[in-house]
Amino acid sequence: MGRNVIRIKNVKKIYQMGKEKIQAVNGISLNIRQGEVCCLLGKSGSGKSTLLNLIAGLEKPSSGQIIFNKKHIERMNEDQLADFRQRYVGFVFQSYNLLPTLTAMENVTLPLIFKNVPLKERNERAMEMLTAVGLGDRAHHKPHEMSGGQQQRVSIARAFINSPQVVFADEPTGNLDTRTTYEMMDLITALASKNKQTLVIVTHDLELSDYADRIVMLSDGEVERIEDKRQAEGEKE
């Protein structure tokens, strides 16, 4: 396995709910390696989603450090974070988060628009990406004209179009049926492994962890156990 792309050092996140303090993430230290599929597994309230938001720079930690390629994410301002997300990060959400007024193609090209990629090039790249996720014939449909699975494929295409170093997926199959779930996981891991991209998946579904190289089990905002499947396989051999 490659070097560490993300290093998390003793990160805490405390929410103030009225007079009560809630420790969502309670001192987690973790390294995520380049090119691995890392699964953050835990029940609802285990702090897995909060941890993902912290790593992706959507939220600021209360304390601790998150270092992405030697850069401290917790110290970045809004502009730097926007730039960071644009360059290095792709997102797949449970609820797809497509813009309803744009076609599949336009949704996929959106990250490239913000990156100032010329129209012709971005349309070519979007078409390639849509073909890769099996939606070449749906490029000009709007989200409401597509099934949940198809919408999630569009959002996967959008996450990968910019060739990000890391793709974050937050319960990517939460709204899909079992068969589609496997299709989606096959697709997303295949895309990631093709370009040796790192994939961080947050889920409560134990079955998804089958796709992971490493499973980080979270409970009450702390790391309960880390299961390194590659190492385990290596040991078996």
Partner: protein, 442 residues
């Protein structure tokens, strides 16, 4: 984000909510149109003043008088500013002065003026009129209006131009009979007529020793103008007649013209034509600084503009209020848009839109509303302006509306700026939305 993508996206967002966009734009249309129409009425007012004054003569002409005419009071005022070398020295409105006026930058033509009240005779009819003697070459430049025929030119010697208000009558009739009879119609152009200082001309009281001067009428001036009751004649001829008159007076009444003789080289009045109305006040001030008295119709124009300044400001303010209301409308629309599009903003932020992109997107949308409102508003004001002028014409009112090009372009630019300003607060708000909370919004 490229400008093209920005414009494209902003336009699409606006077209998504057609009715709301339309209503907001409508507000700006009304605001812009009311400002433009109000300002145009103000401008129309000033133009109509200028037109009114034009009837009384050219706005580009300055009348210069000798400082002696108004008494020493004026001179004493000027002495302080003209320096010690001028002390005690009287400035004279003579040939040298006329030459010095010609040297002033912006002066197009200069002519001394001498006027004389004389009799005209044409056949059996006579008329009395004020004769204005000027350099015939400058008559056209001085803005004298011609109704028929032509103005005097440099070559004219024994030629005159008669005002339409000069009334001819039969000198044999008494005053009462004259009032009751229709004034006789006579064709003057091309006529050889008599000009004389003998008030008995045409009657039995006529002085046979006075020989009338012969002139040809080359043109007429409209009766309603400033010079409707005057006759224009080359200056040299007026001077000749004046000289003859004085000699005759000396001979018949024994009065001494000695005092006048001394000042014969001085003129009562000099007309100075300036190339552009904008330079009139500057040239006028220079002439005043030389120690002469000077006045022009622009003095009146400035005074008229000054008195209506308040009214024009109130008109402008009424228009401005409607535009302020429109601006609030834009802000409201954009704030609503942010509530509706919170999730969309969040998504854009998460997938890499910079704060600048978000801000620019909202500002562009607001600017579009302003720009569209400005364009349509200017179109509406064009029609309204024509309508105002039409109604004013029907009622014979002097209130007209005039929209210069700068007002059109300026209003469009102004409406766009108003749009951007109105969009600033909402854009700032969109920028500050937390990406995470935004995408969690359902």
């Amino acid at each position: 984000m490229s400008t093209r993508d920005l414009l494209n996206m902003a336009l699409r967002n606006l077209l998504k909510r057609k009715l709301r966009t339309f209503l907001t734009v409508l507000g700006v249309v009304i605001g812009t149109a009311s400002i433009v129409v109000m300002v145009s009425i103000g401008i129309g007012m000033n133009e109509s003043f200028a037109r009114q004054l034009e009837d009384w003569g050219s706005l580009q002409v300055i009348d210069v008088y000798s400082p002696n005419g108004g008494g020493g009071h004026y001179m004493m005022e000027e002495e302080g500013s003209s320096g010690p070398q001028n002390k005690g020295k009287q400035v004279k409105l003579d040939g040298a002065a006329v030459d010095s006026f010609r040297q002033i930058a912006g002066v197009e033509a200069v002519s001394p003026i001498k006027s004389l009240y004389l009799m005209i005779g044409s056949g059996k009819l006579v008329a009395d009129a004020n004769f204005i003697g000027l350099d015939p070459a400058t008559m056209e430049a001085m803005g004298y209006k011609i109704e028929d025929g032509r103005a005097l030119s440099g070559e004219d010697v024994k030629a005159i131009v008669v005002g339409g208000g000069v009334e001819f009558y039969d000198p044999k009739l008494n005053w009462e009979m004259r009032m009751n009879s229709e004034p006789p119609e006579i064709e003057l152009i091309g006529e050889k007529i008599d000009v004389t200082f003998d008030w008995g001309y045409g009657t039995r009281h006529a002085d046979k020793s006075v020989k009338p001067f012969k002139f040809e009428v080359v043109g007429t001036m409209p009766a309603d103008g400033n010079n409707g009751w005057s006759v224009i004649m080359p200056l040299k001829e007026v001077e000749k007649i004046e000289k003859a008159q004085k000699e005759w007076e000396k001979k018949s009444h024994g009065s001494s013209g000695g005092n006048n003789q001394k000042r014969s080289k001085e003129y009562e009045q000099v007309m100075v034509k300036v190339d552009d109305i904008k330079n009139v006040q500057v040239v006028q001030q220079q002439i005043k600084d030389m120690g002469y008295r000077a006045s022009s119709l622009t003095d009146q124009l400035e005074a008229m503009k000054e008195t209506t300044k308040m009214l024009r400001m109130v008109l402008g303010a009424i228009g401005a209020i409607s535009l302020v209301v429109a601006a609030i409308g834009i802000t409201n629309t954009m704030v609503m848009a942010i509530y509706e599009r919170t999730r969309e903003i969040g998504i854009m932020k998460v997938i890499g839109a910079s704060l600048r992109d978000i801000k620019l997107l909202f500002l562009t949308e607001a600017a579009f509303i302003g720009f569209a409102g400005g364009i349509v508003g200017v179109g509406v004001s064009f029609v309204t302006s024509k309508l105002v002028n039409f109604v004013a014409m029907q009622h014979g009112s002097d209130m007209t509306s005039s929209i210069p090009l700068w007002l059109y372009l300026g209003s469009i630019a102004f409406a766009t700026v108003i749009g951007v300003l109105s969009g600033y607060l909402p854009a700032k708000r969109a920028m500050k939305l937390s990406a995470l909370t935004a995408i969690k919004t359902e």
